[in-house]
Symmetry: C2
Subunit: 493 residues, 2 copies
């Protein structure tokens, strides 16, 4: 006896042709069948109302167990793609809106105004293909990092403290790390703080982004050292701030010039310990003048203290934060440069008045960095390995720095003169008259020598032609060879 | 023969008294002396113009080598705090603005408008002290994670691939991880993508924050499932969006209701695979209707696919993303729930049209997550351990889930009835009439039982009283004991 077919179905319908693509590696037979049929329906190759071949014929055509085909059909039915009537077969459901399923339309959804700012201000040095290595600006001496020691501390931590270390972390950071950091910056940088003011982040960019979102609105004006750290300039602009370049000289940022350009700025990004990219420290006079301005205007100062522990002559100045009596200095530093860039751990020391706001922001934003990594770093610091590593790096970088200066003095003085600087992992090479810095960069890269034109760090100023070179990542041999190649390049121009 | 003193100095001046606090552990003698004297100057205890004791007398008073004292004085002179005249001694400099150094003023710098939004919307469940563990909502089974295996893979990676793994990472994520993720979500969730569309983040919050900044402006209206994931609601509000609750029923979010409430929203946050907190999947009909709305309005859909691989009955539905022909679905998932919360690795699959914008944003924001961690995860996935772990977790959670449902059915049916759900790591327990859910939560916590009132996840809806319980982190014994304690608590109310 024949059953009736559902009222809306014609009595005779052609079986849909079912041509399946080859199974990709790793897909189960079930998943493959299910995906292929579903895709055929979504793409419109199997049209609504059409009948699928029987499970038996699919099984025999594709040499699959019939149970697997039945399971795939069942799943498609459960999801509403097909429907079965006993004895009549399986049909693609008619309720599917064909216009949607068949169409290959282009999305109309677009970026927001603030999204366009972000999308249109990519940081140029990271996005470019930077395969050239000698004198690379953003890289410490990776070959000198004690990887095995780090691995051992990490494994020991997980062994002894899992599952505790696997659970959710604290919003402001792993407590033992915050304590180790507070002690470390108190001793080495004179930063006045308790562990409660320390916020662990993934590095300087995240730290600056977090603070920018908390204290700046789009359109607010901010001081940035000119020339200055492009990573900060780009982030501030991408966040909607109006960047005001304030010139630096041998004593650092000149607040008087800043006041003349824009007295009422809300924020200043500065590198008092070791100016980026010029390398000098900010004088006490200028520090006090900057603090005075911030106090008068109710402005925030973001002190990026990056590289300031690496000093090749004299002792480092204590952090600007240590002079702040008004609670307006936010201190920032990063382990991505002290240890290695792939680590993604940095920190802020914020005034006590900002702690709750930072905690609230982090609770909805990215919450906290990897807890096992934070625990490894906490042990690395509290067991004295950070101090040891920094001492070793200081020696190593001093040797590399001296080698570069001596070598450049001997071999390429006619085309480039290096700045005498006291700190930092980069050095500025002033080019002889008539040499175009952008062309010099481009040609040097062709010879495997990395550099950034000083003008890339300028905001409003016009600087004399110069290249900024990274001192840290090349060994003595690479430095000598790099200087030779740089000399050849520059003399050709 | 006596030299003249500088003109502005009186002939006789009292030596400043120099009382130094004890040296803290770890400070060098130099650092201690320098810090103490500097602090005394900054605090105003050593006033401008006053004379410091001689280096000889400080050395003898504090039993320090004279060379150390000389070094500290030199450093203070170099920084401009003091000045020396030969034969006359060392003086605190007069140029220090006393008003600044002596004052202990309170900062006037304040939060921005968008900063206040962030500061005033802390995520309540993370900020609270969550020491109570049984039925904790946000925690997977940490004791079942293969910590030793993970450690071994991590150490092997660093051993074989440092220093490459220590250098800067790629902006969109470690390439082998992006490839492993693309293959994994293609197979397990039917997500259609290439590795180029995969963006590695630190988890769902960062993913949602990144997308929010790219596609939403303050004031834009967004759909969120009601009840829905509070972490999303809070983040969207803190970012300035206006959250429109769109009711869910047994088939998931109801776009028709959404259209009536606010047709022109720009964005929808949804959990189609496993609705949070109610646990059901979104029906095909509703999926197609949602896509249709997004296409008509040019809206984005953020698909949070969290927990959807953990299914206790039936097979998981393929991701909503697999139905998207308009390029408007952004797929999100996190390893912080699949593996462990402290890991901080999650990912997005974005439409090809968004890839460049995301890369630009990340280049100025936090750049990339820890490369060694990404490399470990890439190996963990590509060597089959993720699949293995998810299978084991599925079994374990099924057992825990069944135990909770059976135990609750047997012991506390009079006061609480559990929802039958098919997926996810949480379950909703509907309370008997007259029981106040907030009071129930509070009292249960006193007995060591964690729960969140369902109303905490509601946006505009008034839901019947219920508690949301986490199923994953308690073992069978803890489940039984938790159910008993919950029963006692509820019967007392």
């Amino acid at each position: 006896m024949w059953r009736c077919t559902p009222a809306d179905m014609p009595k005779k319908r052609q079986n849909a042709s079912l041509v399946l693509r080859d199974r990709s590696n790793g897909a189960t037979l079930f998943r493959w069948l299910y995906d292929e049929i579903r895709t055929a329906i979504v793409d419109g190759r199997l049209s609504p109302g059409s009948r699928l071949p029987s499970t038996r014929s699919v099984a025999s055509q594709y040499r699959v167990a019939r149970g697997t085909v039945v399971a795939a059909f069942d799943q498609l039915a459960a999801e509403g793609y097909v429907e079965s009537t006993v004895g009549n077969g399986t049909f693609v459901r008619r309720m599917l809106p064909e216009s949607l399923l068949g169409a290959r339309s282009v999305g109309r959804a677009s970026l927001s105004a603030r999204g366009r700012l972000l999308a249109e201000n990519p940081f140029p040095y990271l996005c470019a293909n930077r395969s050239v290595e000698t004198f690379r600006l953003d890289r410490p001496a990776l070959d000198a990092f004690p990887t095995r020691l780090w691995s051992r501390i990490a494994a020991r931590g997980l062994r002894s403290s899992a599952p505790r270390l696997l659970a959710h972390g604290e919003i402001l950071g792993f407590r033992p790390l915050r304590e180790a950091v507070a002690a470390h910056v108190g001793l080495t940088r004179g930063v006045k703080c308790t562990a409660d003011q320390v916020v662990i982040t993934t590095g300087t960019q995240q730290s600056l982004d977090l603070i920018t979102r908390l204290v700046l609105d789009p359109g607010d004006r901010v001081w940035v050292e000119d020339p200055g750290y492009a990573g900060a300039t780009w982030l501030l602009r991408a966040s909607g701030a109006e960047v005001i370049g304030v010139p630096v000289d041998a004593e650092g940022i000149d607040s008087d010039a800043g006041r003349r350009r824009c007295r009422s700025a809300k924020f200043a990004y500065v590198t008092p310990g070791c100016q980026f990219p010029l390398g000098m420290g900010m004088s006490l006079r200028r520090r006090l003048a900057l603090l005075q301005w911030a106090r008068e205007e109710g402005a925030w100062i973001f002190e990026d203290d990056y590289d300031s522990q690496l000093r090749f002559s004299g002792r480092p100045l204590a952090a600007l934060q240590s002079l702040d009596t008004g609670g307006c200095v936010i201190y920032s530093n990063t382990f991505n440069k002290m240890l290695f860039p792939a680590l993604r751990l940095g920190f802020l020391v914020v005034p006590p008045t900002l702690v709750d706001a930072v905690a609230a922001a982090r609770s909805v934003l990215d919450r906290f960095p990897s807890v096992p990594d934070q625990a490894t770093l906490a042990d690395f610091i509290s067991e004295g390995y950070l101090d040891q590593h920094m001492r070793r790096m200081c020696e190593l970088y001093t040797a590399r720095f001296d080698a570069l200066v001596r070598c450049a003095q001997r071999r390429i003085k006619d085309v480039m003169e290096l700045s005498p600087v006291g700190a930092g992992l980069q050095i500025v090479g002033w080019l002889a008259k008539g040499i175009d810095e952008n062309e010099a960069c481009r040609r040097a890269a062709e010879r495997g020598v990395d550099s950034v034109a000083l003008s890339k760090f300028a905001i409003d100023r016009s600087m004399p032609p110069a290249l900024v070179l990274g001192v840290a990542c090349a060994d003595i041999r690479a430095i000598r060879s790099g200087v030779e190649r740089l000399g050849h390049t520059l003399r050709e121009l």
